[in-house]
């Protein structure tokens, strides 16, 4: 139905606009699972929703992580470190 409406009412419905924000990253958050107590604070504060919960633990996805470092600062156990991307 929308095909013949193109250039009539401006509509965006062909997929989701998405940038490769991972390319912005100079540092990546790396989680030390030995220190992690599964409190979930990193997930709650991640502005990009790059921390996810799977099979009982919090994990970091690097697909869109911008490397802001909030998770590393906010982690109460200092279990996340920011490591240089290094020549990626």
């Amino acid at each position: 139905m929308m095909t013949d409406k193109r250039f009539v009412t401006p509509l965006g419905n062909d997929g989701i606009y998405c940038l490769d924000t991972a390319a912005w990253r100079t540092h990546r958050p790396v989680m030390d699972k030995d220190k992690c107590v599964n409190c979930g604070i990193c997930m709650s504060f991640c502005p990009v929703n790059s921390v996810y919960f799977e099979e009982g633990q919090y994990l970091i996805s690097y697909d869109y992580c911008k490397g802001c470092g909030i998770c590393a600062v906010e982690c109460p156990k200092k279990a996340i470190g920011m490591k240089p991307e290094g020549g990626k």
Partner: protein
């Protein structure tokens, strides 16, 4: 059966709107439109009209609320005048460029300053490049009928544009005329219940109006202009279909009055057309072959029909109830001249400006215009702008 009654232009406007069963009405009071809003509120609050009535805090919000409701699939209505139209300009422009159909009545009024609340067409004329279809009415019956026609035009899939039904503030809005008030069933038969596509619906998620770069923007504008041209045929067809249902029609884009054998022609907009027709009759009694063209739609501008109607005539004057500041003439004169293109130099013509801020466009003024044309009809060329004042 239609009921024969008498009512003001504003009463005709709100009855016309109510007969179209709008899902939502949002409006803000402004002279001389206020009694349209009051009338609709009376119908809704009295349980006689099943519409959502939203009491807004400004015209900017009036147009915004109806825009939101129309984007959610509703048939919507509002009305305004002058400063209110100016205030709503931002969402007004967006309504047409989103290509969402709706109808708005404008009881036209002069723009301040000097401070004024009275009649004039400067408000509606000033927004004629905002992408809306705009038409002007002469009589109260025409106001009622054209609101009904306007929905049919706006919602036509070839058009998909909002429509302004304009009529002269006070002269039409507040004066009473006889009217055939159609039955609801008659209107329902002509204008089916609205079932418009909802652009904003979780059932089919879409971004309404994503950020659009220039290369694509060009395509949207081109389509909009094409729809405006396609609307010309739709306007004529709608008028014919309306005649089949109600036994009344108005000539579509323009109305011609005694033009067939005319040498000199007055072109008029809105309520002054009635006075103009009287002046034509009087001129003919004096032996002047006069005629009149009522410019009903100003957007799309009926260039072809005006050029055809003026073909073979000797002289014309366009009477504007507004001004074009940059051209030292009225806007419809400027556009009529543009419509005649190369043929323009064959005519004797002038722009007449009158009726600003509620001033009267009298019979004498219009007869004077016809006589002036008659005197100069064999000397082609543009004459100075005539100001219809003492």
């Amino acid at each position: 059966m239609a009921k024969y009654t008498a009512m003001t232009g504003n009463t005709a406007a709100y009855n016309g709107a109510a007969l179209c069963r709008p899902d939502l009405i949002a409006a803000y009071p402004i002279t001389p439109q206020s009694s349209v809003v009051e009338g609709l509120a009376g119908l809704v609050y009295g349980g006689k009209l099943d519409s959502n009535f939203v009491q807004v805090e400004s015209e900017h919000s009036a147009m915004s609320v109806v825009q939101g409701a129309a984007a959610a699939g509703g048939r919507v209505f509002t009305a305004t005048s002058a400063q209110g139209l100016a205030l709503m300009y931002e969402p007004y422009f967006r309504m047409s460029t989103l290509r969402i159909p709706m109808v708005m009545a404008i009881a036209t009024r002069e723009m301040t300053s000097p401070e004024t609340i009275w009649s004039g067409q400067q408000d509606a004329m000033s927004v004629r490049e905002a992408g809306w279809i705009q038409m002007f009415c002469e009589s109260n019956q025409e106001i009622l009928d054209m609101i009904i026609q306007a929905y049919a035009i706006a919602e036509n899939k070839k058009v998909m544009l909002p429509v302004n039904v304009c009529y002269d503030g006070f002269y039409s809005s507040h004066l009473i005329e006889g009217i055939q008030l159609p039955e609801q069933a008659e209107v329902d038969a002509f204008l089916p219940r609205h079932d418009e596509y909802a652009y904003l619906d979780p059932a089919h998620p879409a971004a309404l109006d994503p950020l659009t770069p220039g290369e694509l923007m060009m395509k949207y504008r081109k389509k909009h202009l094409e729809a405006m041209q396609e609307a010309k045929a739709v306007i004529e067809e709608t008028d014919a279909a309306f005649a089949a249902h109600f036994g009344r029609n108005y000539g579509g884009l323009i109305e011609e009055y005694k033009t067939e054998d005319a040498d000199v022609v007055l072109l008029t907009v809105g309520g002054m057309s009635g006075t103009g027709k009287d002046a034509v009759d009087a001129a003919r009694e004096k032996g002047i072959k006069a005629g009149l063209i009522k410019i009903r739609f100003i957007r799309p501008f009926p260039a072809e029909r005006i050029a055809k109607a003026l073909a073979g005539k000797k002289a014309f004057a366009v009477v504007d109830r507004s001004v074009s500041f940059g051209w030292n003439c009225g806007p419809m004169y400027m556009e009529t001249k543009a419509a005649l293109a190369d043929a323009d130099e064959k005519y004797c013509s002038f722009s007449a400006i009158g009726g600003l801020g509620g001033a009267d466009i009298s019979f004498e003024y219009l007869l004077g215009c016809i006589e002036k044309l008659e005197a100069k009809k064999d000397q082609p060329g543009k004459r100075d702008t005539v100001w219809l004042m003492d």
